[in-house]
């Protein structure tokens, strides 16, 4: 079952590209020239995004390396101690919105140290699968069109992240 779904998702992009160029040719579009014209936009977009990425990454990496991250983690852990959430899952919940590569590394580490079937692993797996690297998404999408005034978007994303993690914890408890 899972293998089939995996195969289908591998098939989507190639089929989509094939259909696009065939349809274009059918509509008498010079697909090669058209593709080149489109691809030309790439560098300008990235040039817009890059400063946003540098700015947010510097702050996030610095925050992690300074040791402040560990304090925040411990604070959250003691704050929610009564819920009996494994500390590994707490780290996961805090790191996931900040950094994609760090959360993958952390998840691998949790699986290795607590075992593949532990509660910490299960909970982290659900958080990992159901949360997104919020700050990266914000930097890329806002940077792409140079949005400066974000109004209430950032608070909405943070509140949603928090709710999302609470949901992940409850759902994991319910399942395992």
């Amino acid at each position: 079952m899972l293998k089939n779904v995996e195969y289908i998702s591998l098939l989507i992009i190639p089929l989509f590209i094939l259909f696009t160029v065939l349809y274009g040719t059918f509509k008498k579009v010079r697909v090669y020239d058209s593709f080149v014209t489109g691809a030309k936009e790439g560098p300008a977009i990235i040039l817009n995004i890059f400063p946003y990425l540098v700015t947010i990454f510097v702050a996030i990496k610095g925050f992690q390396a300074s040791g402040a991250f560990d304090y925040v983690k411990d604070a959250f852990y003691s704050l929610f101690a009564f819920l009996d959430i494994p500390i590994e899952a707490v780290s996961m919940a805090i790191i996931k919105p900040l950094s994609g590569s760090a959360s993958t590394a952390l998840f691998t580490d949790i699986v290795k140290t607590t075992g593949a079937d532990s509660m910490a692993t299960q909970m982290s797996a659900v958080i990992m699968g159901s949360a997104e690297t919020t700050f990266y998404v914000l930097a890329v999408y806002l940077g792409a069109v140079s949005i400066k005034k974000t109004r209430y978007l950032v608070p909405v994303c943070l509140v949603s992240d928090f709710v999302g993690i609470a949901v992940a914890v409850v759902v994991t408890r319910w399942f395992f």
Binding site: S34, A39, A59, S66, G67
Partner: protein, 192 residues
């Protein structure tokens, strides 16, 4: 974002001073800059490819046909998108790519969607309600099957890695809906 960035950075520096992690802190700043460069280079490749593909979609008119097809679904969430606007196609393709966990396609198509939504923006530089809905939908991570998580679990001898699929799906669905709800509440409070 301004406040958040200031807090992350200054709290980081103060902690680095008190915990004696100054060297690690300084190094991490340049590590951060380096990963921004690496990710930008990676994005440069995939974004250019998808800009090429979507240009073919535009030139052939297919982008308007897809928009027409998905308008009834997409315009339920995005009320102020006119007719068969290309942004509908970009949003649809981004959502589909997210659902199937195609990260290499989702981000570039999301960027395309933001550009198309910005074309409708009368006050450039300020975010529109449609852009907010779109970004909130993306930060809520809508994904049918978390292949990367399953891969890691399988690697380390989990008895049944696929067992994670259903809880993730439920958690994702609930959190995506609550994210849209949170947005709606903020929208009511701020009255736009």
């Amino acid at each position: 974002m301004n406040v958040l960035w200031l807090i992350l950075l200054s709290v980081g520096i103060v902690f680095a001073i008190f915990t004696g992690n100054l060297e690690a802190f300084t190094k991490s700043i340049f590590d951060g800059a380096k990963s921004a460069v690496e990710i930008s280079l990676y994005l440069l490749g995939i974004v250019s490819v998808w800009m090429g593909i979507t240009r073919v979609l535009e030139d052939s008119g297919l982008i308007y046909r897809i928009a027409h097809l998905f308008k009834p679904i997409i315009c339920r969430l995005f009320k102020n998108i006119p007719g068969d606007h290309p942004s509908i196609t970009a949003i649809t393709l981004n959502v589909l790519a997210n659902l199937f966990g195609l990260g290499n396609a989702a981000t570039p198509l999301g960027i395309k969607a933001m550009q198309e939504l910005d074309a409708l923006n009368e006050d450039k530089g300020t975010i529109t309600p449609e852009m907010m809905t779109f970004i909130v939908l993306n930060t809520a991570s809508i994904q049918l099957i978390p292949f990367s998580v399953i891969g890691i679990l399988a690697n380390y001898g989990h008895r049944n890695p696929a067992a994670v699929v259903l809880p993730v799906l439920i958690a994702t669905a609930i959190s995506a809906m609550t994210a849209l709800l949170v947005l709606a509440i903020f929208r009511k409070v701020f009255k736009c």
